[in-house]
Amino acid sequence: MHNPQSRGAERAMIVLEGVSHDFDDRPVLVEIDLALCERRIGIVGANGSGKSTFARLLNGLVLPRTGRVLVDGVDTRKDVKAIRRKVGFVFQNPDHQIVMPIVGEDLAFGLKARKVPKAEIAGRIDAALACYNLGHLRERPVHLLSGGEKQLVALSAVLVTDPEIVVFDEPTTLLDLRNRNRVAAAIDALPHPALVVSHDLDLIAGFERVLMIEDGRVAADGLPSEVLPFYRERMR
């Protein structure tokens, strides 16, 4: 397996330097040093291992107690506004991500927050929904969508803001097989670099790099063919 500290550091989009974090004095992440530059990166780990906190560090939702996180050279602690523009975040439960009651309104939410001119908003929403053949859902109330449709709407709402990187926190956990496959295909086709936290090992089996988090530390880092068998063994 690779040495996480040296891998791709010279062209890394995301760099973690000595990052530690705790909740109520319970360490969640401990002294993490990483340089991430691959197009597809998977994060695996048991429940409570710290992988969701790790993902939240990248968008500035969680700021490290010690150390620093750099995204494209920008420190999450110093310019969280710029970080939010660079890093889109797709949550596990789309019901906890979709803010507005109507699909089109929800896509407009992120654009309005970024002060995108009104004249531009409608066209960008149409284009984002068209990517996943969701155009017919534009005026649909969110609570009437299926789980897969909601997750794709949540993804569209992130992509419409044109982020540079997309972070997914367990995007297929709540979905049935058909919807899981739709979301997996959407992630696969994404032109953006993506970092995916998941228990769905098939989803990340084709990725370029997988990190295994255990007790707040990177316990394994390398190709899926190296890390996933190790992870399966640890989960026995």
């Binding site: 803010v99 109507i102 309104e105 939410f109 109330p141 609570h143």
Partner: protein, 199 residues
């Protein structure tokens, strides 16, 4: 479930701006209560019903939405029969029925975002005294968004308790519902931040 209020469509009412519709509703309310004519109040009911139907929402949904208000109007009429006169009761029912139909037509044909923008615009003069109109607009949208979420949580908790053989107990339903709703609100707050909304 018919929550969500807005029904997408292309009716003449849909094409009017939120400001025009709310102003129209305000004028109609004043006219109804300031005009002493009983006939004016009675004739306004079928007119308001026609406006309500013109939204183009499915007939069954429109009728279902009127069930709750119909009970309320029944209570108003009963109150007047007991403590007032039949004429006063019918007049009150006609006025309230007209307002309910017109207000429903406005909500059925107006997106929440348009309504929130109208509220934001209306609250701009209060900005110097510390009111943040954008936050109020967002709060309105979130309140509407949360209604189906809370209903869904309520159903899950009731089913989980029924599956464990627990009889329906309001306290046993409300406590987990409040906890789960607060947790959902916390996660939604994270999402709002993650999506670039600035406090």
């Amino acid at each position: 479930m018919t929550i969500g209020l807005y029904h997408p469509g292309h009716s003449p009412l849909h094409r009017l701006s939120a400001g025009t519709k709310v102003t129209g509703l305000l004028v109609a309310s004043l006219a109804l209560f300031l005009t002493p004519s009983v006939w004016f109040a009675f004739w306004s009911v079928p007119v308001a019903f026609a406006v309500y139907l013109s939204t183009g929402a499915p007939f069954r949904r429109l009728m279902a939405q009127l069930r709750g208000p119909a009970i309320l109007l029944g209570l108003v009429l009963a109150f007047h029969l007991l403590f007032g006169s039949v004429a006063d009761g019918l007049l009150a029912v006609a006025r309230f029925a007209t307002l309910i139909l017109l207000a429903s037509a406005v909500t059925l044909s107006t997106r929440i975002s348009e309504m929130a923008e109208l509220v934001e615009w209306g609250l701009q003069p209060l900005r110097p005294v510390g009111v943040n109109p954008e936050k109020v607009g967002l709060a309105i949208a979130l309140a509407i968004r949360f209604v189906p979420l809370i209903a869904e949580e309520f159903r899950h908790i009731r089913e989980a308790q029924a599956a464990r053989g627990l009889a329906a107990n309001p306290l046993a339903l409300i406590v987990p519902l409040v906890i789960r709703t607060l947790k959902s609100a916390d996660e939604l707050a994270d999402a709002i931040e993650a999506r670039g909304y600035e406090r």
